[in-house]
Symmetry: C2
Subunit: 357 residues, 2 copies
DNA sequence: CTGTTAGCGCCTTCAA
DNA sequence: TTGAAGGCGCTAACAG
């Protein structure tokens, strides 16, 4: 019970060699005679010795731990990224410390502190809050902590910061254009915390781009900012449906929001897509399993994670790498042509030619 | 760029005190004069010094890192547990290293190795594979690594191992009994990898208990073992529906499986619950958002995480603690009385009095 | 191929 | 209240 963890010295003693030799036998087996290696391994096994990676790191001055911050682990989307990061990390003998920021700047800041204290080799950041941007930029230049921003293509100056993302604005435009092509002109948007996070703001921009291109006036009352959780999606959709002139197409810029929205639609007795079309974003696992299956923007979450981890771990990776991935629309059952008849007794008026404010 | 991370010595130099004093000023502010403390803090701030928690741990011989293993982070369920563990850990100045085992014994073993090498203070284990049980038991007694098993109440000897779980067998019985009370007699079970994991095996046991109590014969062809993912749930349900005499009620012992099953049901043009009733397990966030909303067994995932983390972190916690939580059935729209008419042209025969093999 | 010697960054007696 | 010295477990440079 509670025996002290043993160290190399004890292994050395049993194997009748020096500590340095044990270290070599364990980490660079070639640099040691067959006989010695066998004796060391034998002793280690017999004692049940477990290498102390913490001491190793501190002694070499290197770090074999990477930190990962996501907004919420409960979003299946980020979970996929986490998985692939772990795979790459484990294969390279690294560990990952992770944290969920919950879209909260203060929590995010504290988590970054913790990771830095833990002397991580690098940081994978997702959904970075505006408030932390400056600090991260400074960190990237003034320290040797590698930084990778994921899920977005940062708008400006990423000189020393790597990123693995895609064009959220274009992706968003794609989704909305799909609705427009189906004849929808009154299109709602339920979107994440764009006032705090760049990635989300770009999705709002893409929505406006699509509207502009089609000459549809921008109506702020159709845009709802919510946290990407099902409850919030449901409430937002309820609010949309309660309006004078509800939208016939809705773009929920996160599958989690879309799931909630779908529920609200069913609860209101509306049919999807014949009454209302719905588009999500992320193509989470479950998006293909809703009723009807969700049309959504597909992003290769696993690939993002893999690339991000490689950037951090691969010693050959230069100062910073920038990957901008493609993403496409997966059309499933939740979107269809706008219907001509009235929705719940109201006529949907078509506005054309309006110039967005 | 890439300036070397600075250490206490440099802070000490600037503050014109010794390293020991810096250490004290930072960790035990009371043991230092007001003046000194101010100077040290000032110097640290000016330099942008970041405390090295790794060196701290190694020097004290303590550990402020805890390891968490879950089968899959993508299961929203475990994500919740992770969140709450992190909250507790962060509040206590600890970090969490986590890993996803994917129900694979080899991966699980490798992850445990890594965590041990990282000298975690303790391990939170979920869905421990049979193959690792012995090793863990030994670890719990022979080392000072604390172990907490979660999500299940281990069947035997947990002398030195803590757990925070609930009675999976009873919970499962609860779900099946609900179906029986609705008049179902032909009940399918889609369940996780019970041949590798105890928690899952208990769910199978509970299913049989309920059947036994009602005098319903156990039919092995109605039991399908699958990994808890939507695809597998869909395929399993398809297999069930393809049988001579498909079940009228199905218990999917994981919401992820239930989501997939629901899809298969819709795709087959069947109505839930009037054609087939479906019960899930876990009460994941999204369970309330399916169509129809899922009847499922509710477990307080966040509470499990909180308790587990406390056991590991709280120095006052004795050698081992055992929590067995309650869990209850949340009845929503996916279950209803068995219908008397034929299902897809076939009669559901009622078997009674059979003794399970 | 192996042992000796420093040293990584911090903490903790023990004196002063 | 503060500093000096030794040590945590391991690695790296240098002899031999």
């Amino acid at each position: 019970m509670a025996e002290r963890q043993l160290n190399m010295r004890e292994v050395a003693r049993l194997a009748e060699v020096s500590v340095a030799t044990v270290s070599r036998a364990l980490r660079e087996p070639d640099k040691v005679s067959d006989d010695t290696r066998a004796r060391v391994n034998g002793a280690a096994a017999q004692l049940g010795y477990i290498y102390n990676a913490v001491a190793g790191d501190i002694s070499t001055g290197r770090s074999t731990v990477i930190g990962v911050l996501v907004p919420a682990a409960s979003n299946a989307l980020f979970a996929e990224t986490l998985h692939s990061i772990q795979d790459v990390a484990m294969a390279a003998g690294h560990s990952t410390i992770q944290g969920a920021t919950r879209y909260d700047e203060a929590i995010e800041g504290k988590l970054i502190d913790t990771l830095l204290q833990r002397r991580v080799k690098g940081l994978v950041l997702t959904g970075l809050t505006y408030g932390q941007e400056a600090r991260i930029a400074q960190l990237a230049t003034a320290s040797d902590v590698r930084i990778v921003i994921t899920w977005e293509k940062p708008p400006v100056d990423t000189g020393s910061i790597s990123y693995v993302g895609f064009d959220n604005r274009k992706a968003s435009e794609l989704a909305v254009r799909h609705l427009i092509e189906l004849g929808h002109t009154r299109i709602g948007l339920i979107v994440g915390p764009y006032s705090r996070i760049a990635r989300t703001r770009h999705r709002l921009d893409g929505y406006r781009d699509a509207l502009d291109a089609a000459g549809i006036a921008f109506d702020p009352s159709l845009v709802l900012e919510r946290l990407p959780e099902p409850v919030e999606g449901r409430e937002a959709m309820e609010a949309l449906l309660a309006q004078e002139e509800p939208p016939t197409g809705v773009f929920a810029a996160s599958d989690m929001l879309a799931f909630g929205a779908l529920r609200a639609l069913h609860a209101a007795g509306l049919d999807v897509p014949s009454d209302v079309s719905l588009v999500g974003f992320d193509d989470v696992d479950l998006a293909a399993y809703t009723h009807p299956p969700l049309t959504t923007v597909r992003v290769d979450a696993a690939r993002i994670g893999r690339l991000a981890a490689q950037i951090l771990i691969d010693p050959a990776e230069a100062r910073s790498r920038h990957y901008c991935l493609d993403c496409d629309l997966v059309i499933r059952g939740s979107t269809g042509p706008v219907r001509s008849g009235p929705l719940r007794g109201r006529h949907t008026e078509i506005k054309l030619g309006g110039i967005p404010s």
